[in-house]
Amino acid sequence: MSEPIAYGPARLLPGEQIRISTNPDTQPFWEAAKAHRLTVCQCAKCGHMRMPPSACCPECSATEKAWPTLPGTGTVFTYVVCQKNPVTGEPYVYVPVVVEVDGGGGTRLNANVTGCNAEDVHIGMRVAVEWTPIQDGWVLPNFRKA
């Protein structure tokens, strides 16, 4: 095994190079993010939570959706350390994380984490949402070490 690498600060990918698209199933999630409100898709009938938002509930098949306000905190489920900006190819340390969100019924978000060195990110680390403006006026939920 090689020695642990001192990567240095974990940075968020620049918002101006990130695009998303939406459809009627997913748009309420992104509208909430624009208002800096973290939500996940919840079945309005049986309460089951799912991500990404999809046409119908996998538990009860209902199409009605609720968008509860979550506390905006969570736990790192797993992560990867990357060293290159994927668009420009320049050296750029960023850490994609899978975050299990508090109050989200086990649902997860894929994001970047900041507020610590990349080599200090670990599974189980507590994080809080950090809002990143991206293209077309949308806002992306990223995370910061809590």
């Binding site: 690498i5 695009r19 489920f77 797993t78 894929n110």
Partner: protein
Amino acid sequence: MVWANQDKCAIVGVGATDYYVRGKSWPRTVNEMACEAILKACDDAGISIRDVDGFAYYSTAGAGYLDKFDTGSLIETLGMPHISYTATLTAGGGGVAGAIGLATAGLMNEDAKYVVTVMALQQLPQNRFGVLGVSSVPTPENSFLKPAGLVGPGYSVSMLTRRHMHLYGTTQDAFGEIVMATRANTHNRPKAIRKEPLTKEQYDASVLLSDPLRRLDFCLETDGAVAVITTTTERAKDCRNKPALVHACAHGGQREWGRAFSWMGMPDPWFASSGHKFTADRVWAQSGLTAKDIDVALLYDHFSPMVLMQLEDYGFCEQGEGNDYVLAGKVRYDPVTRKGVNGGTPVNTHGGNLNEAYIIGMTHVVEAVEQVRGTAINQVADCEFALASGGPATIPVSSLILRSA
């Protein structure tokens, strides 16, 4: 319950082009390479292209990532008189082993007599797989994944790998051993792209593209084409070479795996797995076999940790024990005894996607055929059963057991 169609069909022909480093096959066209592979497979089977009347594709009939196979165009190009079966499995490379089951379905339904399964791949700069994710606007669904900067599947597989390391203490040394052990199988293969022996020092010096994975944990990017022909075992008697009997074949997957690392919502223990437990259990049920009965395992190795996780899902070892299994040398092939090492089953005797060539899994099917024929370059002694798998990715994944006739 034994599969009703067990041993009733067989792969009777295999054909392949040379393998080229990504982009180097130009100015050949992807169709020209596909046709060469198909015609070579016909020749190997001892049949005419005019006898072929079926296609069973996978990867949504993709020829690589942007090009598509079109059966109308292929029969026009190859002068085939008619087609009575043309079908594909959905999604991507996960279906490669299952495409042989799709061929079997057409044959057993008497839709066709000789069915081709083909993959051709040409990654010119504009349609390189790893670049597609960066340049394209994400769909509404993968807008929940791509903004995190997971550039390609290797980055996403690193997420599963990290979780496996966390849950079970799996080490990067095991991934290195998989790369080195399968590299040791290519020195005598004229068409292999990576043939030089690999040391642990060289592996450790390979750049961490997406920590915990290094460049050498990622498979090759290759151009080329591979085709195989499946027919009924009855017709196979008239073919040129020894048939490879389709003993069991399954594709699919379970809800907990779903879109897998395009989703990241898999609950433990499925998250840190290859997603193959479902199809593995199906082929074991179809055949009555277990991992212990398999003489050689051709496991889809787009990324080295997925070999380790498949060893667990197929039951070569328990889940969480892949690290120790691999580090005990049990994926190695011993050219002296022509058997496994330390009680293990030889894995990827052809060098796999990591070392020989990456034609989206078709080389694994070819190696399975050659092993049960007894004609493989790194022949396993007394090889009766060969297992081939389709890439751990979004459903379907797939499993195939070939039997020596």
